[in-house]
Each structure stands twice: as structure tokens, then as C-alpha cells.
Amino acid sequence: MVMPLYIEKKPEVLITEEGIRTDGRKPRELRPIRMTVGVLDKADGSAFIEWGGNRILAAVFGPREVHPKHMILPDKALVRARYNMAPFSTPERKRPGPDRRSVELSKVIREALKPAIFAENYPGSVIDIFVEVLRSDAGTRVAGVNAASMALANAGISMRGLVAACAVGRVENFVICDLNHDEDMWGNADMPMAMLMESEEVTLLQIDGPMTESQFKEALELGRDSIRFLYEMQKEALKRPYQVIERSVKGDL
């Protein structure tokens, strides 16, 4: 018996003339997002993000002792990040372990978050960031950055500010935000970006596919707006557990 293969088909229309996308969204509309912090008991800080079909868990350990010892930086904390996809996160089984893509994403996530951390406050220690993709549906790197940044704040690490991220891109003549799977696969351009919200500094910007100068400027502006919105969600999610306790305590009295 032959196993049926998973075959992907390109949708006939990625975006209609009125600007309606394959999942019914408008060009400037995000997928539904939910953020939760403090989901892991054994980690110093953790966060879980549900973004469209993505389910991503982030855990932060540290500052803790550096192992192996030769990696110690005497004047600041070492920041390590690992992005990993679960074997069951994709339609077809993903071979477990690091591959080219996850090594690159680990680097990109680490570099997106590093400017936000006051590493000089913890010399000779290490901050470990783990991003585990449980279910993937386009835009996992930006969702991972959002979750990891919340996990860092949840761990009580000194930070300049939170980092929020969102992907923008182009399908035909439309500049769109938060690409879904079809747009990621068959769209014309894809541009994930992350910003350190304190100074609105861009800490991650990759681009895959052509855009004109005016489209790029429009995409950058759209990305900034989306990131500001995500930042507000992050703030709300970080404060929520404390507000829930406060409400239950005040209800008691």
C-alpha cells in the first residue's frame, strides 16, 4: 500500500481585487493572537503564544552558571537561543534535531533579543532562551521572538524594553501584514521584522522577494503599526496573572 503524499496546491487567487486574502482577512489585519505567561513551573520565565495556527512555547533559564566553562564572558552575560520545531509541528514529520533552517532562526532570534537585555548586569553568567514550535503555520520566527521576549521579562531579567515582532510582505500589488501559509509559500515578498519598543529600534529585518522602494516604505510603516499593537498585547499578557490574583484577593475581603 502506498501512503498518500501530502501535496500542497497553490490557491488560484491569493488576494482579490478588493484586497480579500485567502483566509478572508484584509491586507492590514492580523490573525487571532493569544499570549500567556508563566506556563512552565521549572523555567525561570516562560510564555506561550497562539498566533493563527501557530502554537509556540518559550522558556528562559538564567542568569545561571555557564557550561561549558570556556564560553564564559568575563564582562557580560552570554545569551544563547535555541529555536526548535517539534517533529509533529508540520504536515509531514519533521526530522528532529537542528538543521540549517533552525540554526539560522536560532541566530536571528538571539540577535533580535540581545539588544534588549542588560547583559552587563550579569557578568560571567548565561541566559538561555528556548523557543519550541509545537504547531507551525507561517511566521514562527516572529511569534517566537514575541514569546521569548515575554519569557525574558517573566524571568525578571533586566531589559531595556520588550521586543515585539511581526511579518509583513507583498502579494501582487498589496502590502500585507502577518502572512499566512499560502502567502508565505506563493506570495511575492516576505519581510519579518522585530523592534525594541523602548527606542523603536529595528532588531530583526529579513527580506525574501522583490519590493519597490515605495512598497518597502509602506511595508515598514505597516510592520511598525502591527508591532505596536503586539507590544500592547504583550504588556497586557505580562500583567494579567498579577491582576487575576489581585481581583481574587480583593473579592475575598
Partner: protein, 230 residues
């Protein structure tokens, strides 16, 4: 010139990077001034404004040692010249075993230290990155025998102690136990029976969870009375 605008309420929960104030104010713990002169939070925590000082009371975090801190450590390694102590921090504590002077060696040996022993030790010197010297050679310090070891988040230690040790004396009196709270979040207790220990553990979790809400001492006090009367 003391023009300053405070952008947040006192005791409000803020996230890292959130702007707190502008102008001339003294920076306390866990706040920083960005390049535009805006004072921002470094950590997730509660804003604490006192006169001209602004600081953050963090809600979580690891223990970073400071000179003079009292810590409770567990011996993790003994070599010929040093005793390595785990103090729940990114840095390992070291108690040197003096070489040469016979008197000191004998003095050190009198503690009869072995792997896994729990020590009450003081931070003698810390260079901020790697070398952390501890000492047990002082009145009241040394090996802790018997009792139980409980842990709380190091950021919550000031809550467990309370203003002028108010919370600590509530815990001590109500459970009729011996209690040592260390800066690194380890708490050594000797309770009259197991019941008090279990109640104490619950009370500590309650303090940890509700530390950001005012009236904590009163709530803990009534919680202890209620739990102990059952």
C-alpha cells in the same frame, strides 16, 4: 530645578522599558535613563516613588550576591583547598580552607563539613563576576543541623521579612518555630510538628503570589490562625 513629571501611579505594575518619569529624579534600583532622559523600568515590577527617588520592586528574578548578605548554601564540592557552596545564584560560593597556619586548619576542621551539608554563610567578598568568597567563621554562622529547608523566589525575600521584620515575627510567633530567612531565598525552619511546617509552606506560597497586593501581613496573619486552628 526640580521639574519632574511622573508618568505612572505609585505601586503600579510596569513592564521592562515602560516610561516612568521625566526630569530630575534619583534613580533607585532597576530603573535606567535612556538617551532622551526618560526614566524607564528595567524589570517587570511595581513602581516605588519615595520623595525624589524612583525605583522598581521586581516581581521575580534570580539571586545576585552582594557583600554582607547572609545566605543558606549547600556544599556541592570539597577540594583540598576550597569548599564549593551552591547558593542558588549564577555564581558559586567558595570557602577557602587555609593552608599553612595549623591553628586555622584545625579551626576549619572543627565544623566537620561534608558534601550536602547546609551552611549559613556570609558573603565576605564578591567581585561581581566570578570570585565569590563566603565565610562561616562568625558568631551564629556555620552548619545548620536538623530542621527543614524551604525556598521562595529571591525577589520575594523582603516580603517574607516585612517592614521591621513584621512578617517574620508573625510567621515565627504563629507557628512557634525557629526560622532563618536568607537573602538567597532559602528558608531554614524548625517547627514543633509537621503540621506547622505544612502550614508555613502554604503561607510562603501565599506571600509569594500575593506580594504585590497591599495588606499582606494582615492576610497572612489571619491565614495562619485559620489554618493552624483546624
Amino acid at each position: 530645578m526640580s521639574e519632574s513629571i511622573i508618568l505612572v501611579k505609585n505601586k503600579e505594575i510596569v513592564v521592562p522599558g515602560q516610561p516612568l518619569a521625566k526630569g530630575k529624579l534619583n534613580l533607585g534600583k532597576d530603573v535606567y535613563r535612556d538617551k532622551f532622559g526618560i526614566i524607564r523600568a528595567k524589570k517587570l515590577g511595581l513602581v516605588d516613588v519615595k520623595e525624589d527617588n524612583i525605583s522598581i520592586v521586581p516581581l521575580s528574578g534570580v539571586y545576585i550576591p552582594r557583600e554582607g548578605d547572609i545566605t543558606i548554601g549547600i556544599i556541592s564540592k570539597i577540594t583540598g583547598s576550597t569548599i564549593i557552596v551552591d547558593i542558588r545564584s549564577p555564581y558559586q560560593g567558595a570557602i577557602p580552607i587555609p593552608r599553612g597556619r595549623a591553628v586555622e586548619r584545625v579551626n576549619m576542621r572543627k565544623y566537620k563539613l561534608k558534601l550536602g551539608d547546609v551552611l549559613l554563610a556570609k558573603v565576605k567578598a564578591f567581585d561581581g563576576s566570578s570570585s565569590l568568597l563566603l565565610t562561616i567563621d562568625m558568631e551564629g554562622l556555620g552548619k545548620l543541623e536538623g530542621g527543614y529547608l524551604l525556598e521562595v523566589d529571591p525577589a520575594k525575600v523582603p516580603r517574607v521579612i516585612g517592614k521591621r521584620q513584621s512578617m517574620l515575627s508573625i510567621l515565627r510567633d504563629k507557628t512557634r518555630s525557629e526560622l532563618i530567612v536568607s537573602n538567597n531565598g532559602r528558608i531554614w525552619v524548625k517547627t514543633p510538628s509537621l503540621k506547622e511546617l505544612l502550614v508555613l509552606e502554604k503561607a510562603l506560597r501565599k506571600i509569594e503570589n500575593e506580594s504585590h497586593i497591599s495588606g499582606l501581613s494582615d492576610r497572612t496573619s489571619s491565614f495562619l490562625s485559620q489554618e493552624l486552628s483546624n
